[in-house]
């Protein structure tokens, strides 16, 4: 069959011809057995495909999509300074407590966890950042951010440090949440996997020798990759 025949058969099947043109085309096709079969095949497939129901997102899928894509909210200058004020306030409180105990113990040093719920991070570019910094508290097994000093910097170094800690001290029991998504991203056995807090969003970190992958805990949507500093 020639290219010319294919064009003609497709034109007839798609109802692009009418009148005399259609009559001539049909006569030619009828005269050729292979052409007739091809026309029938084209019509069959078109009819089948046109039955395709509309594919639309469900409300849950739509929300998940927007949550994963929506940029980090822009914050006012005062809001950006909030973590500094929070850190300063925490320092004053802790210093007061330490002094009232005679300044002899380190047991009251602030931890990252104390600030964890009071601030959200902004990632560079913001594309993978979750929509809102929720006040969700991490599950008990969740690893905490390393220190209050680090809390004031961007999350990437923090996450890299957190991944390093998990590499050095993997938890006794690794989570299996999002393991299929991790496997899809990297066909390699992880050193460990742990639930973490990612800028206020519950997340799961899969730690590998050279990198770490972070997924949103609830949906397993991929959030960020954190290459190891010294693989």
């Amino acid at each position: 069959m020639h290219e010319h025949d294919i064009d003609r058969i497709a034109a007839v099947a798609e109802h692009r011809l009418s009148g005399q043109d259609l009559a001539v085309a049909l006569a030619e096709i009828d005269a050729c057995q292979e052409c007739s079969r091809s026309l029938e095949a084209q019509r069959t497939a078109i009819a089948f495909l046109q039955q395709a129901p509309p594919a639309t997102l469900t409300s849950i899928e739509r929300a998940r999509l927007h949550r994963a894509i929506r940029p980090a909210p822009t914050r006012s200058r005062w809001a950006k300074l909030a973590p500094v004020f929070a850190a300063a306030a925490a320092f004053v409180v802790v210093a007061g407590v330490v002094l009232s105990h005679g300044g002899t113990t380190g047991a009251f040093l602030p931890t990252g966890k104390s600030l964890e719920n009071s601030q959200a991070f902004e990632t560079a570019g913001g594309a993978r950042a979750p929509a809102e910094a929720s006040s969700t508290t991490a599950a008990p097994a969740t690893t905490t951010m390393p220190s209050s000093d680090a809390m004031l910097s961007s999350p990437a170094p923090l996450l890299a440090r957190q991944a390093d800690e998990l590499r050095d001290n993997p938890p006794a029991e690794a989570t299996t949440l999002c393991q299929d998504e991790a496997r899809d991203r990297l066909d390699e056995d992880p050193i460990t996997a742990s639930e973490i807090d990612y800028t206020g969003t519950p997340a799961v970190m899969y730690v590998y020798p050279k990198t770490a992958l972070i997924f949103e805990r609830e949906s397993c949507v991929f959030l960020e990759e954190v290459p190891a500093d010294n693989p």
Binding site: D7, S38, T44, F48, L49, R64
Partner: protein, 189 residues
């Protein structure tokens, strides 16, 4: 109502609401394309997300030579191909009934709904390049010129891929019917 191109321009100047509007306009169509290319809602949702993330990150690469929707579709098709490549790396795709297309008697039509394979199964049985062509032309109803722009191939190639894709689907449908009828005959025997 602002055009897609105006919304993208607004987004590139920092208007994130414009990006939300772009997503809202196109997310169902992109999801539909990804669903028909990938065959599963979960994969389609991931691919839709990756498509919009690419637009978010690389919106500046849109040159304006084609319509924004053409560029967006192209990003989506490439994302779907990427997902299919990853899937092939991770798992062997089971050979589907009829994928070797032994029955060429395409004039032998199916005549009842219940013997038809569902559309996603049928589409997954034909090669990717034919699949994207028939999805754009016969399901989305796009013009051949636009499909050529999206796929980055000449119009003649779109015609040929659509034609061959339809033919494979018709053969597959004939084969499904034959198998089903064969089973029915055995049941009656």
């Amino acid at each position: 109502m602002p055009s897609d191109e105006e919304l993208l321009s607004g987004f590139l100047k920092g208007d994130h609401v414009a990006f939300d509007e772009l997503m809202t306009r196109h997310e169902d169509r992109i999801f539909g394309l990804c669903l028909r290319m990938l065959g599963s809602r979960e994969d389609a949702l991931d691919a839709t997300q990756d498509t919009f993330l690419t637009v978010y990150r690389k919106g500046r690469q849109y040159s304006g030579r084609s319509k924004f929707s053409t560029w967006l579709y192209r990003v989506a098709v490439n994302t779907c191909h990427d997902h299919l490549r990853k899937r092939k790396r991770h798992q062997a795709i089971p050979i589907q009934e009829g994928s070797d297309l032994p029955d060429s008697s395409v004039g032998d039509q199916f005549d009842s709904v219940e013997v038809r394979p569902d559309i996603l199964t049928a589409l997954s049985s034909i090669p990717e390049e034919f699949r994207s062509a028939v999805v754009f032309v016969d399901i989305d109803g796009l013009a051949l010129e636009e499909v050529a722009g999206i796929l980055g191939v000449p119009i003649g190639t779109v015609k040929s891929r659509t034609y061959r894709g339809r033919r494979l689907l018709a053969e597959l449908l004939g084969n499904f019917r034959s198998t089903s009828e064969h089973q029915r005959d055995e049941d009656h025997a």
